[in-house]
């Protein structure tokens, strides 16, 4: 449920509790919910130093409200310094680091860190 949809539901619930909700109010509220913009998936890529969610983050990319958000150049001011911090802030991990890709060669490092992909809905 989006914030706008939640607001409509709260208004209807309040009217119901007050005994003032009419059939017309309910139909109108349902139409407003149907017309309101749908929720968007925000996506957060975090590349960590190792496979642990508590490891330091070495890279990040954020897509919010349907558009990429520029990541600050200074890594020390990134919103999350570990994957766990993001999880504790409401992000949900939808992909864990792919170990198969990281074992291609023992001698040759590949790519950037260990990638977690997280989502939330706004």
């Amino acid at each position: 449920m989006t914030a706008a949809q939640r607001e409509i539901a709260d208004r209807l619930a309040a009217a119901l509790a007050a005994g003032t909700l009419t059939v017309e109010d309910l139909r109108q509220g349902m139409e407003e919910v149907a017309r309101s913009p749908g929720a968007r998936q925000d996506i957060l890529y975090l590349q960590a130093a190792n496979t642990s969610p508590t490891a330091g983050v070495v890279g990040m990319m954020l897509i919010e409200d349907g558009a990429p958000v520029e990541t600050p150049a200074d890594a020390d001011v990134w919103p999350y310094q570990t994957v766990l911090e993001a999880v504790n802030d409401g992000w949900r991990i939808i992909s864990f680091p792919n170990m198969a890709l990281l074992s291609v060669s023992e001698d040759d490092p590949h790519g950037l860190g260990f990638e977690f992909i997280l989502e939330r809905w706004s």
Partner: protein, 280 residues
Amino acid sequence: MTAIDEKLYDCDATLTDTQVLDFCKNGYLLLEGVVPDEVNRKSVAHCDGDSFYEPTSILQQDWFLEHVICNRAAAGAVRSLLGADFHLPILMSNHRFTAPGPAQGWHVDGNFKFGPALNNLQVFYYPQDTPLEMGPTQVMPGSHLVRNKARFMAHLDGIRGMVSTTAPAGSIFITAYQIWHRRGPASGEGLRNLLKYFYWRTEPPVRDWVVEEDFDFATVEYSPSFNASGEQFRMDVKVAEMFLWLCGKHDQFQNLGGQSWPLPGHRNDLPYGLPEGLGL
């Protein structure tokens, strides 16, 4: 300085052992403000007149050849890394960009080869001041040793340890071709030229740069400043291998594992596995 023929060039090497090793660690070298202002102005004017993305015509200008392509500091560094009689550029690219604009995606340029060999150099020249607001190229130090592919990097954005090559007009930066890089975000307004060109090695590698008498292959630090991708000490090994390749000693390179050379350590003897005769 000696012009061998139209395309080969030789001059004095200017980098020291430590500077060459630093290049092996970082994969790039920034030379700030080494081109005279008058040449910078001429270069900008030339690019205004030839705004094609490959303004190769600028390579026909004597003033450009003398002060940019064969610039004493830049060519001396190229000579140090590519050896004598290196091949001069035959193609000029211009990443001409009108700010403001978002960052470009991280990438390695096409036709890259990862490995210890350094047979060419990609070089960039800023003919105008290029502060952070004008989207200078960002590079990831040490990434020339970390395999990647441009198509696998499109979702990367912020990388801890990346460096913005902010620089005054007349700056030249020299890179290992496969280094990860991108144009940074630009919040300013105006036109930015970034000329890009390429040198090749024609002679086998040899340690004929400025040799430091006290440079010690056994105790020198091979660790790069940043390691976001490799297992512990793996990058030390990569850096040492590249440095020995440049010294013309790649056939002597060895990694015997564990605490052996080239890992750092407080030892009571020479590192086990140190190849013999490296300083000769």
